[in-house]
Symmetry: C2
Subunit: 222 residues, 2 copies
């Protein structure tokens, strides 16, 4: 009974835990490729630099316990993590802004492997025609509400210029989208009950430049 068991399978996890789970998944996926059968929390801890008691606590949310002396069964852990994280379920998404980053995300088959299915794009540029280079339809944003009815999409990806991000977010929410994945540096605000995930690519660049600049300066002096 999948619906009734939903609260057990998908508790509202602390965000730090949710961010660590994909690290564990990446690591055990690698072990699985290498035909390793068991892994201890001590080994995971050493490899990922996460406290082993924290690992045990994180995995207890999935009702996964390691065996004394043997550790975790790699194949089971990999399957449980992938399932728990929602990567085995298809989630339909539309993408707002089919410029260079938008087209890039549409073309990234990695997203599909992690359960994201981009079903349509919207762009004000009529030159994009009706179909993206990856074969998904591209519509004018004025058709958003109408098109969404047939698309069964729950996620809206925002890859428009930063100055349009808030407008586009408002349009998506108005049209019934409940989760926004914002790739712009603009800090979108919206009503309660709408999920916002920010992937601030350019902010990460700024952090990296600053740290590099500091290091170069230190090296110049030392």
């Amino acid at each position: 009974m999948p619906i009734q068991s939903a609260p057990n399978n998908r508790p509202l996890l602390p965000e730090p835990t949710l961010r660590r789970l994909p690290w564990y998944l990446a690591y055990v996926s690698m072990l699985k490729v290498q035909n390793v059968e068991y892994v201890s929390s001590t080994t995971i801890s050493r490899k990922l630099n996460v406290d082993s008691s924290q690992i045990a606590k994180d995995l207890s949310f999935l009702n996964i316990k390691g065996k004394t002396r043997i550790g975790y069964d790699v194949a089971t852990l990999e399957r449980s993590l992938r399932d728990f994280l929602g990567f085995k379920t298809e989630h339909n998404a539309v993408i707002m802004g089919v410029g260079s980053l938008g087209s890039a995300l549409i073309a990234d088959s990695g997203l599909h492997r992690y359960g994201l299915n981009i079903v349509a794009g919207f762009d004000i540029n009529p030159e994009l025609g009706n179909v993206s280079s990856s074969g998904i339809p591209v519509y004018h944003p004025s058709e958003l509400q109408e098109r969404l009815m047939g698309l069964n999409a729950e996620i809206g990806i925002i890859t428009v210029p930063a100055e349009s991000a808030q407008d586009v977010a408002d349009q998506l929410v108005h049209a019934g989208i409940r989760a926004l994945w914002n790739f712009t540096p603009y800090r979108i605000r919206t009503e309660e009950g709408v999920v916002i995930a920010n992937t601030s690519i350019y902010a990460h660049l700024a952090v990296m430049y600053n740290r590099l600049g500091m290091m170069n300066h230190n090296n110049d002096n030392g």
Copy 2:
């Protein structure tokens, strides 16, 4: 004297400040497009949901002060932020893994606008030939050290499968790269003095799926 003034221009900022500065930049860039001349910290605060005393503190790192009653000069603030964040300087980078995400990043002209110049790619797949679809050269990873000598690159972007991320990071650091931008969910470890920026696209997906799953469950019950 740019080198001597470096410590003033680029102090080691707290990471939360560095992450907020691009939000301010995105907001004032929008105001500039709208021909707004001045903006108060109260307005920025309301729009971005950041405490106005925090904004004043963040901007004081750039030696920027607002004028009483008038606020910040939009054009000056925009220019200072863009400059301070390193977006006006070209930073050369190489990219490891020219698969779907790697090609996508190479094609994203937004990165170039933010100062990132991807000068070469490396991939074990010989079918990629010598040139990516965007025109940058693609080499075999065994040529990394040799090719890097002529490229003046300081950043290595990692878009290989997660199970190869650590190996590739080690190769980059060995070849002299001082900053790693990791797009895989694998948690790379490296020696001190190397900058690591993680953009965990798939971790963000996991958080979004979990929050959406919770909401759907609550809606089913309510």
